[in-house]
Amino acid sequence: MTGPDHARFADDAGAYLLGALADDERAAFELHMESCPDCRNQVEQLRPAADALPRSVEQMNPPDRLRASIMDVVRAEGDAAPRPRRERPRLRFSLRPALAGAMLVLGLLVGFGVAQLTGGEDERTITAKVDDARLPTASAELRVEGDGDDGAALTAEGLPDPGPGRVYQAWIARGDKISPAPTFVADRDGSGSVALPEDLSGADAVLVTRERRGGARVPGEMPVMRVDL
């Protein structure tokens, strides 16, 4: 049994599983699958083959220092609620900024544009600082009503596709505590927006990262945007 418009998607299952569809195509195919048992079945049929691909590679042993480096961070975080840390002694790989993301050393963000404040007394519009290296075309602003106790709205433009299975997520920073806020996606034109219903009074900043669909409890990378309140 096929859903409406099936012919358009008939050959998409393989490309979908391999992560080879463009973002908008993937979204369209996922929507189509909801009403097309044929495509759903085909994806489930082919999935074991796609899942086997990572197992085909030559097996290598990672260096022992990698295990030590990972476990240092994990033990330091313990089973307490994960929270940002100011420093990490063993980090010496080239991905340093991305890795340091979860530690979110606030204020260490470099290469950011200049923030500015506009708007009347009741509504403030604050321009976000955007990491030009990772989001070269993006701009965003946060509209805050009054003291922010009624929340705020973030609107962004020029957002690139965050990658397969990934979304943008907002965060609220208070001191060194970062709490998760809703996720959002960019439409075809690269615009996206998210409402932050939480009381923002006393918050220091609103941050944005790219996370896996569904959102994260703690940031998985250095923020790509930051709005200082």
């Binding site: 197992r55 476990m71 089973d79």
Partner: protein
């Protein structure tokens, strides 16, 4: 005790990890860190970046540990999926483009892993089996699948590279996976592909 938790199945270990147990997480790394690193290396073609990606992926796994859902697949598939996503991100950020062409052309460094345990030997056996399944595909199907999965290229990029219509590329991906699926019966370790 160490001897106790080492007897647990992945899904049980994962429950301890979800409760915030660093020792269980260490065991998870010991079981899947090698496969994770090997996948990252296969995709980016150099050891330093592969280490970065593995570290990033495992820290992300630790921090998002409560999001693992057994109903949606094995722990190993979940871990490797996260590594795959991180490696694709790195490829698309252009961090490793100098090396990727080399890798895609089949020039690969070989690092024979030490055979330490029966599990590792079984994993290597499994890897050979999956490679054999891939090798039964017609060359153009195998190449299309590898460019997409390991190279992080989209179907339209692949169509351009191989100078063929997008429809043909998509068709080869589907047909190749279909054929591979049939070849895989009995190759993959039991219970590991949900």
């Amino acid at each position: 005790m160490a001897s106790d938790i080492r007897n647990l199945a992945d899904e049980e270990v994962m429950q301890l990890v979800q409760g915030g147990n660093p020792r269980a997480f260490e065991l998870l790394y010991d079981r899947h860190g090698g496969a994770a690193f090997s996948l990252a290396y296969r995709m980016v073609g150099n050891r330093v970046t592969a280490e970065d990606i593995t570290q990033e992926a495992f820290l992300s796994i630790w921090r998002s540990r409560t999001r693992y859902d057994q109903a949606r697949g094995s722990v190993r598939t979940w871990v490797l999926g996260i590594v795959h996503n991180r490696a694709i991100d790195a490829l698309r950020r252009g961090m490793v483009h100098d090396r990727r062409r080399e890798t895609l052309d089949g020039v690969e460094e070989r690092h024979e892993a030490r055979e330490r345990t029966d599990v590792e030997a079984a994993r290597r056996e499994e890897a050979r089996g999956v490679r054999d399944a891939l090798d039964t595909l017609p060359e153009e199907q195998r190449r299309t699948i590898e460019l997409a999965y390991f190279g992080g290229f989209s179907h339209s990029q692949i169509a351009e590279m191989l100078e063929m219509p997008i429809g043909t590329v998509k068709g080869r991906m589907r047909l190749g996976l279909e054929k591979m699926r049939k070849q895989l019966t009995g190759v993959v370790l039991p219970g590991e592909l949900a």
